[in-house]
């Protein structure tokens, strides 16, 4: 599977890359804007990402904005819901309001940092991304 990781913090980025590399090919961006660009590029190349992991607190475009942009692009291109990329927010913001905002914007899962790898994997399984 193809994975996009957007994360501005180096340590977290390294962690995510190491953690997710075993499931597929990972691309890494350092802010939300880059993530949206990467997403568009992948789509144009007809190799869309199966999984996108977005940090929330990022420069230029934050995780919410990036999430919304990606969902809007997908809607614009008429991609059916079941084929949309699965998006997981990865963030240290754990207040209920943040989580619900992200759910409303269309992410499928919300992972608090530090990330619980076991649960993360079980979500990937539930999403049929890994077996």
């Amino acid at each position: 599977m193809r994975i996009l990781i957007a994360e501005d913090d180096f340590a977290s980025r390294k962690f995510m890359l190491k953690f997710l590399s075993k499931y597929g090919e990972c691309d890494v961006t350092v802010d939300g804007m880059e993530a949206v660009d990467a997403f568009l590029m992948a789509m144009d190349a007809d190799m869309p990402y199966d999984l996108v992991c977005l940090d929330i607190m990022m420069p230029t475009l934050d995780g919410y904005q990036a999430l919304k942009a990606i969902r809007d692009i997908e809607k614009d291109r008429g991609i059916p819901e079941e084929e949309c990329s699965k998006i997981i927010m990865t963030t240290a913001l754990n207040e209920g309001a943040n989580v619900n905002k992200a759910f409303d914007l269309g992410c499928v899962a919300y992972a608090g940092k530090p990330i619980d790898q076991v649960k993360f994997e079980s979500v990937l399984r539930k999403l049929d991304l890994i077996s």
Binding site: E95, G96, Y110, A111, G112, P114, I115, K119, F120
Partner: protein, 728 residues
């Protein structure tokens, strides 16, 4: 999930909502247990609750809770859609309670930071079997429905969401770190960044100020001048942080202070402003219980004419306090109208306590001003002063009532818990018992509620276990009515009375007396001399239990004495009434609030004591002839044909220089319940509203003293524990 929850963590929110759901669930079940079935509203409500819990637990990835609640949801989906008749109701209730208990148990684990690892498979299997059973009921199921009911297809499938809780983030702490570099440090900004970098390994969240240390070389000066401040969220301990940060030789000092999440957020929002020096308040623990406060309309507090005049009366009655003042009626609240939308805010109980303390101080300060000796100059015209003073008193008294009202909570929740206890205990004992609840809207101070829950539970269990006879026994005795316990709360003369009455076998006077005799409690009084009350009070003594065999629910030897102790802790008493063969009534009489009381102040050899004014019956000067000395040294005083045990406080507490001659001092008659004692003191000082404070922990419990308070002149006075003295 309203906006008011905005600062709640995801996990807290899940726990809170699930607990509320379970509470509703239990209430519905207990409501319906006598009807033999759920009505449509109940079915819908239970379905909705289980659906919510299922959804929420799925998001939180508590698989066991999700599967179990899903199963119960299925059962109710079937009931809702197919309306089967003759559902075994009692069995269903049991399953619901089991589900509820399972989920509560898991929530407890989650709250304590443990894995939710309970296995609900057995229960799920049982529910499956139950579902099969009601589906197999030919009267209910339509042939075509079979097979499809299991999944609630009518519920629109929601997009799944998952919340992956961070690892151990529940235990993470917040710190404010302040680093001072020595003045001649080069590139302090870079050194500061190294410290930040070192912390990143352990940080869940990190913020610092000045924030531009990398991009702006000028920031080095700011760092040198004001220090470098870091806000850190981490699970690491302070010394670990210290080790990571304190690696540079140019660091002069590192200060690490724990802070609350609020302060952490404050740091985020105004990282520009230098943080105020970390004072005491920064160190309060984060997790504190919060209390929901009913936002009362101000106009609901109405003062009566009588109370408006309180101050005036008080000023006048300073000298003639010989008569007991009518107890003030606190709790002037009116019920909020139904249908009116209520807005609630949730306030940290610490803040409420602080407000309460401050108002207490205000009351004292007011007493200092209004009773100032400077006002005692003869011939001073105080008309205007008195007018303003009474205005001030009115406001402080309203303020006091307002804070009291805020702290008041209905007994509803506590009472509802009892419902479940009766249900469980009576079921296990095979007794058919009905619980009637009266006056659950009665309100009591939050602190008091916490103290009465346990004793109340004990009383209820006692009634179920020992009070009410087994079904067979009742039949034998010809008692036709069902076993019944009435739990009642009401306001009565400035107190709250909570009574547990049952129609069981009542207390056996002879049995108790026999036991008391064998324990040597009767002294040399003859058995006939004891009033029923005195006899019943024996059961409240430690280790006194007439029940021969110990059962699972009560009668472990600890028992009534613990109940009484708990009640006394909040200044209450337990009143026991009973009629053999008919049942008994246990009444807890507790004050509405603990914090501020009217006190009568008197002194004994230079030490000031206070007694609650409403326990003072009278005071009187007597002469030595009225004192009767028993051969064993016990003293009594004879006042108008009444005989009271006498305690000379100076001798009782071995205080030197106290007045010894009856003629020189004064005797105060104190009453507690129906018992009275006389205490002998040097002189009366006056009357004042006092703020009750506990004795500092450091001082061990002193007999006859329940707390201390600060008087108008700033001196400290000890509060007499009348209940304790009476039983001495």
């Amino acid at each position: 999930m309203g906006d008011d929850m905005i600062t709640e963590g995801m996990l807290d929110m899940f726990i809170f909502e699930t607990e509320q759901g379970l509470e509703n669930l239990e209430n519905i079940c207990l409501d319906s247990k006598d009807n033999g079935e759920f009505d449509d509203d109940h079915v819908n409500e239970i379905f909705r609750i289980m659906h919510t819990i299922k959804g929420a637990s799925a998001v939180m990835m508590y698989q066991n809770i999700t599967t179990l609640s899903h199963k119960l949801e299925d059962v109710f989906y079937y009931i809702r859609e197919n309306q089967p008749e003759n559902i075994p109701h009692a069995e269903l209730l049991d399953y619901i309670f089991e589900v509820s208990d399972f989920i509560s148990g898991e929530l407890e684990k989650i709250k304590n930071g443990m894995e939710s690892d309970g296995n609900a498979d057995d229960l799920i299997e049982q529910l499956d079997a139950y579902l099969g059973k009601i589906q197999g009921n030919p009267a209910g199921a339509h042939a075509g429905d079979k097979g499809t009911q299991a999944a609630p297809v009518s519920v629109p499938a929601e997009k799944p969401h998952f919340y992956i809780a961070p690892v151990a983030s529940e235990r993470s702490m917040f710190y404010l770190i302040d680093i001072t570099y020595s003045k001649n440090t080069d590139m302090a900004n870079i050194k500061a960044y190294i410290a930040v970098n070192a912390l990143k390994g352990i940080a869940e969240d990190i913020l610092f100020t000045p924030a531009d240390i990398i991009s702006n070389p000028e920031s080095a000066n700011v760092v040198l001048e004001f220090g470098f401040k870091i806000a850190l969220q981490t699970t690491a301990a302070a010394d670990e942080i210290m080790e990571l940060v304190n690696s540079s030789a140019s660091i002069e000092q590192v200060e690490i202070n724990e802070c609350t999440s609020e302060e952490f957020i404050d740091f985020c929002t105004d990282a520009e402003a230098p943080i105020s020096s970390a004072g005491e308040i920064l160190m309060e623990p984060i997790e504190q219980p919060t209390v929901l406060i009913d936002e009362q309309k101000p106009e609901t507090i109405v003062l009566t004419e009588e109370e408006k005049d309180t101050f005036a009366q008080k000023a006048k009655s300073e000298k003639d306090t010989g008569r007991k003042k009518a107890p003030k009626s606190p709790g002037k609240r009116t019920a909020v109208k139904k249908g009116e939308t209520q807005s609630f805010i949730s306030v940290n109980i610490k803040k409420m306590d602080l407000l309460m303390d401050l108002i207490g101080e205000l009351v004292i300060a007011q007493a200092v001003v209004l009773q100032n000796p400077d006002l005692q100059v003869p011939g001073l015209d105080l008309t205007n002063f008195q007018k303003s003073a009474s205005q001030l008193s009115k406001i402080t008294s309203e303020l006091q009532d307002a804070i009291m009202a805020m702290r008041m909570m209905p007994l509803k929740n506590t009472f509802q818990k009892m419902n479940r206890i009766v249900y469980d205990t009576s079921k296990k004992l095979g007794k058919d018992i009905e619980l009637e609840v009266v006056g659950e809207d009665t309100e009591v101070d939050k602190n008091i509620i916490e103290h009465i829950s346990d004793p109340l539970m004990h009383l209820i269990r006692n009634s179920v276990d020992h009070g009410i006879e087994s079904n067979e026994k009742r039949m034998e005795l010809g008692k036709t009515e069902k076993g019944k316990i009435i739990l009642e709360a009401k306001n009565e003369s400035g107190q709250v009375w909570i009574s547990v009455s049952d129609n069981g076998k009542g207390l056996k006077r002879e049995e108790i007396l026999a036991k008391a005799k064998s324990n040597g409690l009767l002294g040399n009084r003859s058995e006939k001399d004891f009033t029923d009350k005195e006899v019943y009070n024996f059961i409240t003594l430690p280790g006194f239990s007439t029940k021969k065999q110990v059962t699972e629910y009560s009668g472990r030897g600890v028992g009534m004495d613990v109940v009484v102790k708990n009640i006394q802790e909040v200044g209450g008493i337990l009143d026991i009434e009973s009629e053999e063969g008919k049942g008994s009534i246990m009444t807890m009489k507790i004050p509405l609030t603990l914090a501020i009381i009217d006190g009568m102040i008197f002194s004994v050899s230079g030490t000031n004591f206070v007694a609650a004014t409403n326990s003072v019956t009278e005071f009187i000067r007597i002469d030595e002839q009225q004192v009767i000395v028993e051969p064993d040294g016990e003293e009594y005083v004879m006042i108008r044909e009444n005989c009271y045990p006498l305690i000379r406080l100076n001798r009782f507490y071995h205080l030197e220089h106290g007045k010894d001659k009856m003629e020189d001092g004064i005797v105060i008659i104190l009453s507690h319940e129906d018992r009275k004692i006389a205490i002998f003191v040097d002189e009366l000082i006056g009357e004042q509203e006092i703020v009750v404070k506990p004795m500092p922990n450091y001082i061990k419990k002193v007999r006859g003293i329940s707390g201390c308070t600060q008087l108008g002149d700033g001196s400290i006075s000890l509060i007499l524990d009348i209940a304790g003295l009476v039983t001495e």
